[in-house]
Symmetry: C2
Subunit: 114 residues, 2 copies
C-alpha cells in the first residue's frame, strides 16, 4: 500500500516526525525510555538523545523520569509529550487523507511486475 511520511518542521528549528512520535508512544505504553527505544531497535543513548532534543525544541520536558532517574525507575509522558503525540498523529491522518487523490494518480503510473 502506498503511504506518506510526514515531518513537521517547527520554527525556529527542530522537527517532529514519525520516529519521534513512535518513541513517545512507546514511552507511554512501556513506561520506560530505554524500553521504548529498544522496541524500535534504538540504543538507550539514542532514545535519550531524541527525548532531549524534543525537550530542547519545546523548552520543557516531553517525558519525566521517576525514582531512579536515568539509570532506573520509569518514565512517563508529560502533558506536553502527550499533546505532541496527539497533534502529530492527527496531522499525519489529515495529510494522508488530503493527498489520497494525488497519491493514487502517482501509484497508477508505477509499473507492476509479475
Amino acid at each position: 500500500m502506498p503511504d506518506i511520511r510526514l515531518r513537521l518542521l517547527l520554527d525556529p528549528d527542530g522537527h517532529i516526525g514519525p520516529g519521534r512520535a513512535e518513541l513517545l508512544e512507546g514511552i507511554a505504553a512501556l513506561g520506560s525510555i530505554s524500553a521504548a527505544g529498544r522496541a524500535m531497535g534504538m540504543s538507550y543513548r539514542r532514545a535519550w538523545e531524541l527525548v532531549e532534543e524534543m525537550n530542547r525544541i519545546f523548552g520543557r520536558p516531553v517525558a519525566e523520569t521517576q525514582a531512579g532517574g536515568r539509570q532506573g525507575g520509569g518514565a512517563r509522558l508529560t502533558d506536553l509529550g502527550q499533546l505532541v503525540v496527539t497533534r502529530f498523529r492527527s496531522a499525519e491522518a489529515a495529510a494522508r487523507r488530503a493527498v489520497a487523490e494525488e497519491m493514487a494518480a502517482l501509484q497508477k503510473e508505477v509499473r507492476r511486475e509479475g
Copy 2:
C-alpha cells in the same frame, strides 16, 4: 515559519520527496540533468542516480536526454516526469493545508527565546 516535509511512499517500493521533485523542476527549467543537480549542490553522479531511481520506480523515463547522451546535449522531462512534479507539488500543498491547525497547535508550544 513552520512547514512540512512530505514524502510519498509508493508500492511496492520507492518514494517521491521534495528533493526529487526539485531535481525534476530543475531539469525542466535548466534543460540539463547535471545543471539541475549542480543548482542543488549535487554531483553529476548523484543527480543521475536520482533520475535513474525514478525511472526504475515507474518502469520508464521521467527525463529524456537529447543529442550527446549522458555526456553532452540537453535533457527534458517526459510527460511522466512532468506528471510526477505536478502531482507531488499538489499533494504537498494539500498536505500543508490539511495540517495547518495541528501545526499551529504544536508551534504554540515552542518556547521562543529573546
